[in-house]
Symmetry: D2
Subunit: 138 residues, 4 copies
């Protein structure tokens, strides 16, 4: 693992919310990131399926991790998610993030969320702004 990847992955456990959600990154390079989140009772909405906020948090975290592979800290400009199927009856929800454009200032990432069986649950796109703060500066 190179030092940037190590640095990027090392940032995640610094977030109490990411730790609470149990999000893990299981694949990561400059073009693609894959993460997953377990589905336990504590993530349920009033209907008993996974709360949209958890799904969004997974998408934002995996996409943001990919955006960090630019070598800079990033902030989310906006994110839009389409909820296609409820997440239920799955041990994990998986998120694949794919780089669509990595520009000098702006980064656009596409996400797809799937259940254990590979069924597509959600899809969307997020934009990030590169803050100029280098992640590997020390």
């Amino acid at each position: 693992m190179d030092s940037l990847t190590e640095k990027v992955l090392g940032m995640l456990p610094e977030s109490p919310f990411i730790r609470y959600l149990g999000i893990e990154i299981i694949e990561l390079d400059e073009e693609h990131a894959r993460g997953r989140m377990p589905f336990t009772d504590r993530y349920k909405n009033p209907y008993g399926t996974m709360h949209g906020g958890c799904l969004y948090a997974l998408a934002d975290t995996v996409a943001g991790t990919l955006a960090n592979m630019s070598g800079e800290a990033v902030t989310t400009v906006e994110g839009g998610i389409h909820f296609l199927e409820p997440a239920a009856d799955t041990d994990y929800v998986y998120c694949d993030a794919k780089m669509k454009r990595s520009g000098k200032h702006l980064i656009t990432v596409e996400v797809e969320l799937k259940d254990d069986a590979g069924k597509l649950l959600d899809c969307g796109c997020l934009s990030f702004f590169r803050t100029g703060y280098k992640l590997d500066k020390d």
Copy 2:
């Protein structure tokens, strides 16, 4: 409080994730809902500000509560949030949800998130689909 409002508000504590986030609805009628979420350390992202997933969860919960005032259970079709300023140095994040259109099948809600000082942090729009399941049926 009428029976529909009571029913809608009663659904929220059924969700472990909404309880964890500490989201409360403090105003609710058919055109507008206002909710808030405390900002504690456990909602932080790796940069120390509030995780976008928490902000999204607040938006989705308050907007969904307003959509439930249609009298039917709803599912989120899609949601898009623009992150304008980081949430930091605030005791609560407030969310105002405003009905833009309540149709026979689809409901569109605008959201604005603000800090204690009233500064606008995030804005966006969410669409909901009415499932046909009546909330006050029993």
Copy 3:
């Protein structure tokens, strides 16, 4: 060509705006549609590249054509497009629309716009509502 495809393709020239833009559908089945629009001076924005409204119109038209393959007239619920690179120095802009979910009431379509060289210009997602009006009823 089956009668539904014929009917769907036959709707496009009924729109003066689609005729003005010169949009053609060059591939169409239930999972995918491909269309293209020539880039002439009349589609330019004040900066001399293609106006975002033309790009959006192409995306909406091709995605909507795919959604019509459900056999019903549809209305656009919402659409979001990320503008990655300006459209310039290309004879055509191509749009690929891919079915993400075709539900009983709602249809979600992903779009990618590319130039002659295959460079990705824009990407996004649109949702459609099935009106119940059958396209092949007569």
Copy 4:
């Protein structure tokens, strides 16, 4: 009218597409812009109402004009529009653009489109990136 406003308004007729659509800006300051577009047969979609691409073009043009009041040329990062009611039986479609945040690099603008009677047709949000190119440099 100050020289920046004059410069910003002067850019619009340079675009053949904006001229074709007949878009006019009727109010403009740093916080708000209002524009309108006539509804003629040539903007119709296959269903006989106004094509979503025209509505989007109006939103993008009015919001972009407001963003230009930052004093810099801007590019659209992304735009999302919710289509609430079809545009029909109206002489004009009006668009109000409201500044949500004007940052050093990014600008976020909310839009609402209405018909002659003031009925809300569409709403949404667009993000712009400031290119650094000063509009009033000469």
